[in-house]
Symmetry: none
Subunit: 205 residues, 4 copies
Amino acid sequence: MTEKRRRSPGRPPTTQKNTTTDQVIIHAAIRLFLNHGYQKVSVDDVAEACGVTKATVYYYFKTKAELFTESILQMMERIRRQIDSLLHSEKPLKDRLFDVAEAHLRATMDIDLDGFLRETKNNVSENQTHMMRQAEERMYQEIEVVIEEAVNNNEIRPVSPPFAAHAFIALLRMGNAPSMQELFTAYEEMATNIINFYWRSLTNE
Amino acid sequence: MTEKRRRSPGRPPTTQKNTTTDQVIIHAAIRLFLNHGYQKVSVDDVAEACGVTKATVYYYFKTKAELFTESILQMMERIRRQIDSLLHSEKPLKDRLFDVAEAHLRATMDIDLDGFLRETKNNVSENQTHMMRQAEERMYQEIEVVIEEAVNNNEIRPVSPPFAAHAFIALLRMGNAPSMQELFTAYEEMATNIINFYWRSLTNE
Amino acid sequence: MTEKRRRSPGRPPTTQKNTTTDQVIIHAAIRLFLNHGYQKVSVDDVAEACGVTKATVYYYFKTKAELFTESILQMMERIRRQIDSLLHSEKPLKDRLFDVAEAHLRATMDIDLDGFLRETKNNVSENQTHMMRQAEERMYQEIEVVIEEAVNNNEIRPVSPPFAAHAFIALLRMGNAPSMQELFTAYEEMATNIINFYWRSLTNE
Amino acid sequence: MTEKRRRSPGRPPTTQKNTTTDQVIIHAAIRLFLNHGYQKVSVDDVAEACGVTKATVYYYFKTKAELFTESILQMMERIRRQIDSLLHSEKPLKDRLFDVAEAHLRATMDIDLDGFLRETKNNVSENQTHMMRQAEERMYQEIEVVIEEAVNNNEIRPVSPPFAAHAFIALLRMGNAPSMQELFTAYEEMATNIINFYWRSLTNE
DNA sequence: AATGAATGAGGTTTCATTCAT
DNA sequence: TATGAATGAAACCTCATTCAT
C-alpha cells in the first residue's frame, strides 16, 4: 500500500504511458509549487488542478510535504537531464555553457528553483531535505565534471570546479531579477553577456 | 514558548523607553520574516516575540502585509546604509568590494533577502511591491555608482554598471547555498574567492 | 451550552438518517438567524446548534453570507407555500385572509422576517440580495392574485392589488409590536381585529 | 463625572449653542445607527464620523449600548415632537394624518425605526429597553389622543385608539419596502393612497 | 476634557488530515 | 482505486473596553 514508484531502475521503456494518476498529480504539483511556493499552494489546489479530489492526493502521498518532495525531486531530475544533454555535445565549452545558460534563463524565468529550497527547510523532514540536497548536488555535478575536464585540458585556467559550478548557477540566477529583465530584450542577449562575463574569469583572455 | 506576559489594557505606566513600540515590533518582525518567510510567521508569533498582544500589532499596522512591507523597507534601508559606508572608504575598489562581500556574507548567512522578495509578490499590494522594488534598486545603485567611477578612472575595464552590480550581488548570494558553506571554513575565505573571481572579470589581469 | 459532541474526523459511520447534513444546518440557521439576527449569530453558534463543527458548516456553505441567503430563501419558500395553501381553499375571501393572518401572527410572533431583510442589505452580495428580493415578491404575488380575482368578481371594490397586498402584510406586522401583544390575549382575536379593519377598506360595508 | 445633560427643564434658550461634544456624538451616532444598524456600527465609526477619538466617546458614554440608547431616545423625541406639531394644526383630521404620513414617509425612507428596536433587545439592558419602549409609546400616544377626540366628535366611527394608532404606523411602514417605492413616483402620491385606504376603515364612506 | 496605547475575547475563514465507503 | 464528509488547529482581523496621561 505504501509502495509507489514501481519502475525498475534505469530509464523506463518509453512506450509505456506515463500518465498514471500519481504522475498526473506530480505534474500539477510541480507547476503550482513553482509558481506560488509551498505555503500558498493547498492540497486542494493541486487536486483541483488535476481533476481529482483531495482524498485522492492523500491516497498517493502521505502528506503535503511528501508530495512536495517527490515533485521537487522529479523536477530536479528533469533539469539535470536537460543540462546533461546540453553539456555533452561536441561544441567548445564556452558554447556549451551558453546553451545551458540560454535554456536555463528561458525556463527559470517564471520559476525559481532556488528560493524554493529555502522554503523547504522548515516544511519537510530531515530525510526529505537530504534527498533534495542530493538531487541538487547531482545537478551541479554535471557542470563540475565538465569544468574539471576543461581545466585538465588547459582549456581554462585552474579553478575549483565546485566553486566555478556554483558561480555559474549564481550568475544564471541574475536572470530572475525583474530589473535584469528590463536591461535585456532577449534571453539570448542576456545569456551572451553572462557567459562573456563568466568566461573572462575562467580564462586569461 | 507559550508563556505570554499578561498586561492589563490601557496605556502602560510611563517607563522611559528609548524605543517606541512600533520599532520594537518591526525589529522582531524583520528577524522572524527573514528566518522563516512571510507565510510561516503568524502575526501572533511577531506579537509574542516582542511581548505585546496581536491586537497591539494591529494597532500599529493595518494588515500583516503592511507590517511585512514596513519591515522589508527598513531592513533594506539598513543594508543600503551599511553598503554605502563600506563603499565610501579610501581603500582601492577591490578592497572595498571585499569589505562589502564579507559583511554581506556574514549578515545574510541566516537571512534571505532574496527568496523573500519572491514570496512577496503574491502577498502584498501593487503599491507595496513597488516601494520594495524601489528600495532594492537604491541598494544596487550605490554599487553601480562606484563601478561607474572605476570605469571612468580606468581602474577597471569598461562594463555596464547595472549588469556588473547585479553580477556582484548574484555572486554574493552563492554564500547562501549550504554546499558552499561546506566548501569554505570562514567567511573571509569565501569572500576572497568570490572577489577574486569577480575582479578577474572586471580587469584584464 | 459549552458542551460539544466530539466526533472524530472522517465520514461518520452510516446511520440511516432521513435528513442530509446541509438541511440540518439550514434548519438550525433559520431558527437562529430569525431569533437573533444575522450579526449576532456566529457560524460557531449555528454549528453547535446542529452538532457539527464550524468547519463542517463551511464545507457546505462557502461563506456565512451564503448560508444566510440559502436559509432565507428556504424559509420564504416555506412561508410562500403555506400562504398559498391557505389562500386556495373554498372559503370566502375574508375567511381565507383570516386564516393567513392567524397563521402568520402565530408564526411570526417570535421571528422577524422583516427586520431581517433590512439587515441583509449590508451583508450579502448584490446577487444574493436580488434572489431574496425575488423570493419576497413571490410571497406577495399569491396574495395579489387572489385580490385581483376578488376585484374581478366584484367581491371587493376596485383596488390596486400590489398595494392591497402590501397593506395586508403591513397590517399583519403590527402583531410584532409588544404593545399590540399586550392589547390582545389571543392570536385569534388579534387576527379578527386586523382582518375587520382591513376588510372595511376593501369593501363598502 | 457621571452627570451629563445639564440643561434645566423646559426648552433651552435657543441662543445657546447646542453643539456640546456629547450632542455632536449623538448626532453622528443617530445617523450611523439608523443607516447601518447597531451591530455594524463600531464605536470607532462613530468617533471618526464626528472627529473625536474612541476614548472621547467613552468619556461621555459608559458603553456602546448606552450611546445607542441615548441616541434612540433623542431621535424618538424628535420624531414625537414633529408628529405632535403636525397633529395639532387646525386642519381636519384626515389632512393632519396626511401631513404626518408624508413627513414620515419622507424621513423614514431610508431609516427604519422599527426593525431597530428589535435589534436592540439583545444588546441593551432591561432598563434601557424599558426607556425606549416608553419613548415609543409616547410617539403613539399623540396619535391615539387625536383619534380618540375624533371618535368622541363622531368625526370617525368608534375604534380602539391604540389599535388604530398602530395600524396607522404599520401602514406608513409600507413605504420602506423597495417594491412600494417602485409603485409610486412621489411620497405625496404614496401618502395619498395610504391615507385613503386608512381613512376608509375609520369611516363609513 | 480628551486621548493614545494597549488588550481580551471573539468572529470568519482556511487547510492538512482522517475515515468509512 | 477513489471519494465525500467531517474535523481540529490555527490564521487573520475586529472591536468594545480600559487606563495612564
